[in-house]
Amino acid sequence: MAEMKTAAYVCRGCGIGERIDTARTAKVAEKEGKVQLVRQHDFLCNAEGVQLIRDDIEKEGVTHIAIGACSRRSKTEAFYFPTVALSRANLREGVIWTQPETEEARETTQEMADDYVRMACAEVKKMKLPAGNPEVGHAKRLLVVGGGVSGMTAALEAAKAGYSVVLVEKTGSLGGWAAKIHQRVPFHEPYQDPAPTGVTELAAAVTGDPGIKVYLNATLSRTSGAPGRFKVQIATESGGSSAEEVGAIVQATGFTTYDIAKLPELGGGKSPNVVDQAGLEKLAMEAAAKGQPIRRPSDGGEVKTVAFVQCAGQRDETGTHLPYCSGHCCATSIKQAMYFKDANPGVDTVVIYTDLRVPGNGEDFYRSGQSKGVTFTKGKVSSVEAGGNGCKVNFHDLILDDKNASIQADLVVLATGQVPVSGVNIEKQEEMPAEEKKVISILNLDYRQGPDLPQLKYGFTDSHFICFPYETRRTGIYAAGPVRRPMDMVQAIEDATGATLKAIQAMENAELGRAAHPRSGDLSFPSFRVDGCTQCKRCTVECPFGAIDEDEQRYPVFNESRCRRCGTCMGACPVRVISFENYSVDTVGSQIKAVDMPDEFSEKPRILVLACENDAYPALDMAGMTRTQYSAFVRVIPVRCLGSVNSIWITDALNSGYDGVMLMGCKHGDDYQCHFVKGSELATYRMSKIDDTLKQLALETERVATYEVAITDIARVPRLINDYAAKINEIGMSPLKGFA
């Protein structure tokens, strides 16, 4: 690589020139930033301005550029110079738009601008142009695990997009649950009657597609590698084993039904006349095959009354059964009631529910059920007395508040929930013998963190619910269908389509050595200095994506293609040997140190804000766009994720005289919004331990504060800053000023 040649550009457009003495700022870049080439421009993002930069790169051999203009989130297309390292000083959203346009504020506004330029100059000098991940894989084949509706849809969608597919199904036939139901809930206008499942046609399309290779009676005995180069061992029932190389994986392993025998109080397992929804489908299919109405299982008698018990062993608050709602069961019961009503309107069908939930266009279907005379009774079933040929359903009528309501039914259908088939819960794998683990596991990943996809709640695989529903915490492996959350067939098909598209994207990115979501296209990747490593394992344990394995000597082994580039490993490393070419302990550390620190008598405190670039930093930018003012004493540095914040930055900041440090990251917990799932949670955990450090430095614990900030907190973020600035004013300037 050529020798470093630095340049800084200060834009005067968008009012920057009127509010800031850019000549002074330019001088700062030159004298303090020690940049070789400094230019001012009245309109840097226009064609002429961009050409100026381009010429400098080409003719002057500039390799490192600091641009003082708008936010790094603005004008990204104009300021796209892929051949040089680039930093941005946010003079517009971060300075002039958030500071009052008054004579009194002029000085502090100028100081802010000067500092941001100092920081940009310092940062860029520590940056390297990312060279891209050398560990690329070229496999463009998609592995689909599971041959139900989700899996078959995924396979067909991939095939249609021109990608070959390997489909592994553990049973002897394709179809999954869909092959075991008589009819499905309608999925198009007018949403009135049960519809054919279409599963035979779907399976035929899969087996007939030359691009799809189907393994039946098969499981995965080992999965290793990374996106673009996964190697899988497929074990078949006959004892055979095949190896396949694939670029990405869609896991569509679906669900099983909650065991009806766990519901003896509702008659589960006590009488053949009490069935679950799957059981009723079986009866319906058998009856249809014979061309007869559904008969009472105990004696083949006529069915005159059917009771459907909703939320059977679901939405359970006692902790005994499933705590969640499976979403499809209300519509399924309506459909099953129609099996009877459509055949014979004289059959009484009663759906006993507490809350009827029919998402999508289910309301129309519900109305159709009502029109057909299905009775809906709002009540909670307390028990089902099953014996002989009749069942007595006892319930609490919630509208009439009759605790002793009951109906006699020939057949009782329990609407039980979906239990995900998601393999081993890696959080609890220690308790499990290896052999058992092997059997239960779906993917048998040879990843350091465990053999299956991490789960969030209730055994469903973890995926970013709000923003990236198909993304699991294993890059290149996408969950689709009821393994991800309870869902019906319409949702599963949509889910499988989405997951397939993401999987294709992952394969394409992997081939180019680029990151997958959410830093899609990023060429940087973490590297570590082996001689400093203490084999502490924090990086391998804490990586939210299981990207880092360990070698025999317990040194980390980075799998770049599995990495999402969040920097959580960098934040975790106590000896700071992990870095990215363009994002490192130094790129941020040098910015922290570049700020001009006024002395303790100046009445100008300095507050460092480390803001997540996904949510908090855009919120700050938008505060600027709405001209919401905040303290001139803050200096904001965007970070990839709060998880990448290394505690050395905090101690460095405090040692160099900052009066306070604010960390702004995304919401964590079960309803997290962190783009890297665990980053903000880990950061908060780490910061909870920083109190000791503060005490050692004889500093107040308030000098470091962590906040959860959402991208929508446009009005709140300035408030947080101002409140914190007031707090700092209260506790006074840092006693460490001037010692650095």
Binding site: Q370, T375, I399, L400
Partner: protein, 207 residues
């Protein structure tokens, strides 16, 4: 009337919902209620209903025939139509309540001396007699429905209102003898008689 009730019980057995669907005005809507309770919460007389509309609908589906038809709840409807415009399922709740009350009245199951029931009958008889309402007779009819003494007492209590209306020429004492009337009373009576016959046929009521 009692015979009609026995006939209905025999005809519909335990299927009260079907009975309502076939015999009550807008009764076919009952099954479409989704039990949200907005009607009950929207009723100005809500607290006075032993069973607000939401419950009435549920009771019909649960086959609670006697309880529904002998309830005085439906008679609490003021015809404000608030429930109708707010019902997310667009049920004509006001009409259904009127229909249920009417049906209960016809079967002889509606509560005796229910004041709104009495007033409703009084109004109908009053307005159809001549084709137009005789307000004086209507008012006196309300006051004297519980007998002479009670009527005198009530009329005395309300004397201020009566005098006020009298003085402002909004009540005519001579209506007691000759009030407003349509010319073709004969035609009106014939047409209403015919309408009642047709309706009985449509609602499958015994002849």
């Amino acid at each position: 009337m009692g015979d009609m009730n026995i006939q209905a019980i025999e005809q519909y057995r335990s299927d009260f919902l079907k009975e309502v669907e076939e015999r009550v005005e807008e009764g076919h809507w009952v099954k479409m209620c989704m039990q949200c309770g907005v009607c009950s919460g929207s009723c100005p007389f809500g607290p006075h209903w032993a069973h607000p509309p939401q419950e009435i609908f549920m009771m019909i589906r649960a086959g609670k025939r006697e309880e529904v038809l002998s309830s005085d709840s439906m008679w609490m409807c003021t015809s404000c139509y608030n429930c109708v415009v707010r019902c997310p399922r667009q049920l004509p709740i006001t009409q259904i309540m009127h229909g249920l009350a009417t049906y209960a009245h016809r079967l002889g199951l509606a509560p005796r001396n229910q004041p709104t029931r009495d007033f409703s009958i009084l109004f109908w008889e009053n307005c159809t007699k001549t084709g137009r309402v005789n307000e004086l007779k209507l008012t006196l009819g309300v006051y004297f429905r519980e007998g002479l003494m009670a009527g005198i007492k009530k009329a005395w209590n309300m004397r201020n209102i009566g005098f006020g209306l009298l003085l402002t020429k909004r009540l005519n004492p001579f209506e007691l003898f000759k009030g407003h009337a349509c010319k073709d009373q004969k035609g009106i009576h014939a047409m209403l008689k015919k309408a009642q016959e047709i309706e009985a046929r449509r609602h499958k009521l015994p002849a």
